[in-house]
């Protein structure tokens, strides 16, 4: 085993729940000591002494552990550790404490739709509509989402951002006529992190939009 050594210390990178019902953790392996190295994730749940092992190493992709609904308790601290083992020995990450309520980061909203409205009795406006991300259960009230949109003429650098509250539509009133606009939307749970921005949608503002 010349030149070989026990594995370096792995590190837990991030844990995230997209809808406060399941969650996934990702880790970064340490050095493998030049040998095939095996990784396991073990955890304790608050108020219990049993040590569990990761229920699903596949769903979240490489170096990840996915906790489905059955394995996810809300309002309970998970004490999580990654263990690396090879023929020369093993090493463990520092313990990582997770409470699901503090790691909620939804997927972006979907079906972003744009429409220029030119009513007779009022000034024209750009009507922006979207739907919540599919995974999130809004109907039961388990999660409440707030939204933010941003838009800009295609060639400019600076985005104009608007907080839309809990609505899934927004009207923007002052726009340049004859320009192509790019629009994106993102969402945040009542308590948690902003999602990424949705893919861009675009629309041409007619030249008579004054």
């Amino acid at each position: 085993f010349l030149g070989h050594s026990p594995p370096g210390k792995p590190e837990i990178l991030k844990c995230r729940s997209p809808e406060k019902e399941t969650f996934t953790c990702w880790w970064k392996p340490g050095t493998d000591g030049g040998l095939p190295t095996n990784y396991t994730l073990t955890y304790h749940k608050e108020g219990e002494t049993i040590t569990y092992e990761c229920p699903d190493y596949k769903t979240g992709g490489p170096n990840s552990c996915y906790f489905n609904k059955k394995h996810t308790s809300i309002w309970k601290i998970y004490n999580i550790t990654i263990n690396a083992t090879n023929q020369m020995g093993s090493s463990s990450s520092d313990p990582h404490y997770v409470d699901v309520i503090y790691i909620v980061e939804p997927d972006p909203p979907v079906n972003l739709t744009l429409e220029v409205k030119q009513p007779e009795d009022r000034k024209p406006y750009l009507w922006i509509k979207w739907l919540p991300p599919t995974l999130v259960d809004i109907n039961s009230g388990w999660l409440t989402l707030q939204y933010e949109i941003r838009l800009k003429p295609e060639k400019t650098a600076v985005w104009e951002t608007h907080f839309a509250g809990r609505q899934t539509q927004f009207s923007v009133l002052s726009l340049y006529s004859g320009q192509k606009y790019l629009v994106q939307v993102r969402c945040k749970p009542d308590h948690g992190f902003w999602s990424k921005w949705s893919p861009e949608s675009s629309i041409e503002i007619p030249s008579d939009f004054i």
Binding site: N79, S140, D190
Partner: protein
């Protein structure tokens, strides 16, 4: 108009009561979460409080649903009573927290104002939930249950580490319980008022 002339029962409607309760519970959790993170940043980093704090809230004895399915299986009357019990269990500690926070070394003013604000809003939410229970369960036997808090001595002890841990644990439990109350009320609102179609 609030009470159209000749209206027989002039009262705040159940949907309005729930809207206000949910806005208040959301606001209380936002404040509690801010306080927990502010306290953590200023007083708790590196003191290894997390493992010590596990499972030590004065409300741990109150059996509460641990996920969405469990919460949805509970009868709404029982879930409302659970919320009442939790809110009442926080009246006393919040009273003391609002006064004891001043004793923290260089206590940030934001922490002081939020501690007082949470105490007042908790009392307000309790009044609202009692009103909701009246409307949802008129004549139901009044539930006066609550979990006793006996943490005052450790909030006032001279030993700094014990005292900071006591504050840490109180802020952590408040953040957790206020999140539970907020989640349960949002579920109840969608179930009772919007027939699970929020």
């Amino acid at each position: 108009p609030v009470c159209p002339r000749g209206s027989v029962r002039c009262q705040v409607s159940l949907p309005d009561l729930f809207d206000r309760a949910v806005m208040l519970s959301h606001y209380i959790h936002s404040l509690s979460s801010d306080m927990f993170h502010e306290f953590n940043k200023q007083y708790a980093l590196g003191r290894g409080f997390i493992p010590r704090a596990i499972n030590s809230c004065h409300t741990s004895s109150i059996s509460t649903p641990e996920d969405k399915e469990q919460a949805q299986q509970i009868h709404h009357g029982d879930l409302l009573n659970l919320v009442l019990t939790m809110l009442r269990s926080w009246n006393d500690p919040l009273d003391h927290l609002a006064s004891e926070v001043h004793s923290l070394p260089k206590a940030p003013s934001a922490l002081l104002t939020k501690a007082t604000e949470v105490k007042e809003q908790n009392e307000r939410l309790l009044e609202g939930i009692e009103k909701i229970v009246d409307q949802v369960h008129p004549g139901a036997k009044e539930n006066k249950a609550y979990s006793v808090w006996s943490g005052l001595p450790s909030l006032q002890t001279a030993d700094e580490n014990t005292r900071l841990f006591a504050f840490y644990n109180l802020f952590r439990c408040l953040s957790r319980d206020s999140h539970k109350i907020d989640s349960y009320l949002k579920l109840l609102k969608c179930r009772i008022v919007y027939n699970n179609n929020c």
